[in-house]
């Protein structure tokens, strides 16, 4: 069994289970939407920051989209490892000698697919709810940021989800471990999306260094997960 076939098999299995259970559709998406609406309730009465034409909500929309993504990511990660622990499947995977790196990338791919859909819907929500505008010249930057951040977040989520899977109090441990670590993605992706949308008069060129930060993060955690996932889920 090759690495890619195993990863594909694991990703397919995870996505099939999610499609069957509809947890992501019925619980995580509504949760993310509620978070976005609550942000709007909290911030819509504030005027535009001095020196800009944007409202406060428009100005902070990229950060709010990524914050809602991070909160939803916690639920998705909990879910992706809950299906493994419900009947001891993660133990069975360890015991069967399945390539841990392939397992890591399979679960990362499935998580990334779900996150990508979620992020796209959150961006649409921001456009509808906060009045955010996407300028055509920023689309390439926006899509690149979306891809890099999705892979990075999925890799971190899988790595820390595996770490917390066997721990007592994993539901509370996971956010405690993961949220500080994903701060670079929150900052980098927010700045890059601000540049893509031209918020505060930023130029598109200002966003590319931030995409670099997010990409380095994704590569680092992808490599780290490839090497560390096996020992982490092992005894």
């Amino acid at each position: 069994m090759t690495f890619l076939r195993t990863a594909w098999l694991v990703a397919g299995k995870d996505l099939r289970i999610e499609w069957r259970s509809r947890i992501g559709l019925n619980q995580v998406l509504p949760f993310a939407a509620i978070v976005m609406v609550l942000f709007a309730f909290a911030l819509d009465r504030f005027p535009a920051p001095p020196g800009t034409d944007d409202t406060l909500l428009e100005s902070v929309a990229p950060g709010l989209v990524w914050l809602a993504t991070l909160f939803s990511l916690l639920l998705l990660v909990q879910r992706t490892f809950a299906i493994e622990s419900e009947d001891g499947a993660l133990d069975a995977l360890r015991a069967s000698g399945v390539d841990a790196a392939a397992l890591f990338w399979g679960k990362t791919a499935a998580l990334a697919a779900q996150l990508a859909v979620l992020e796209a819907l959150l961006l649409v929500t921001a456009i509808l709810l906060y009045g955010t505008e996407v300028r055509p010249s920023g689309v390439v930057l926006l899509v690149t940021t979306w891809l890099a951040a999705t892979v990075g977040l999925a890799a971190v989520g899988t790595l820390y989800g595996g770490l917390a899977a066997g721990a007592r109090g994993r539901e509370t441990l996971l956010p405690l471990l993961m949220l500080p670590v994903v701060a670079p993605v929150l900052i980098g992706a927010t700045r890059a999306v601000e540049a893509a949308l031209g918020i505060g008069g930023t130029a598109i060129a200002d966003g590319w260094p931030w995409v670099g930060v997010v990409t380095v993060f994704a590569v680092a955690f992808g490599a780290g997960g490839t090497l560390a996932f096996g020992p982490l889920i092992d005894e």
């Binding site: 289970i17 069957r20 259970s21 009947d87 001891g88 499947a89 000698g97």
Partner: protein
């Protein structure tokens, strides 16, 4: 007769606690071996050593020819461990579970179908989500996954737990059939009468040591 398990002076230390204290054990192809002993005697640890999950602190051992110290990955790929839980995905169907576990070793569709047939899981049962099956049917599905994974050594920890009388009979028949077709089975159980009638050999484990082997 081929040797499946060969342990020599196997010592396992969990934390500061010596879980196995110098175990010598050999098991040959086609045997059904019952491990019996009180709680905490080391039966589960012994199974996990044979599965390549717990490293030896001292001693040596081979499982299906693979060295327990040097190549635990190879041991894991050849062995099937069924603990107190079944290791199934409850939202997937029986066929999808068996298919998934078979695919992890590159099993063909025919092999997967044969594994399900062998455990009586074809037909209507095959498409049902595992969550909707009885405990006995779920246990049979887990065993079908071991067959599809081409596990040559089955390590079962309290396999009768949670099963009704019919489920236990089904399980015993399955294990006898597996042994007859070349698999080797080691069972840790407190159900001495039932497991004893199934076993070809009984091994007593007390305080991390093998104290008696019969016959």
């Amino acid at each position: 007769m081929g040797r499946v398990v060969e342990l020599e002076d196997a010592v396992v230390v969990l934390g500061a606690f010596p879980a196995l204290a110098g175990v010598d054990l050999t098991v040959d192809v086609g045997e059904i071996v019952l491990l019996r002993g009180p709680n905490g005697a080391g039966k589960t640890t012994l199974l996990r050593v044979c599965a390549g999950l717990v490293p030896l602190a001292r001693g040596r051992g081979t499982i299906l020819g693979a060295d327990l110290t040097l190549d635990r990955g190879a041991v894991r790929r050849r062995v099937g461990l069924l603990g107190h839980r079944n290791g199934l995905y409850l939202d997937l169907s029986v066929a999808e579970n068996v298919g998934f576990w078979g695919a992890t070793v590159g099993a063909t569709d025919d092999e997967i179908a044969a594994a399900m047939d062998r455990l009586g899981l074809s037909g209507r049962l095959a498409v049902l989500p595992v969550r909707r099956l009885s405990a006995g049917q779920q246990r049979r599905t887990a065993l079908a996954c071991l067959v599809a994974r081409r596990a040559q050594l089955w390590l079962l920890d309290e396999p009768h737990a949670g099963l009704d009388a019919a489920g236990r009979d089904e399980l015993d028949a399955t294990l006898r059939q597996a042994a007859a077709s070349g698999a080797t089975v080691i069972v840790a159980s407190h159900e001495l009468e039932r497991a004893g009638s199934l076993a070809t050999r009984t091994v007593d484990v007390v305080a991390g040591q093998v104290t008696a082997v019969a016959p």
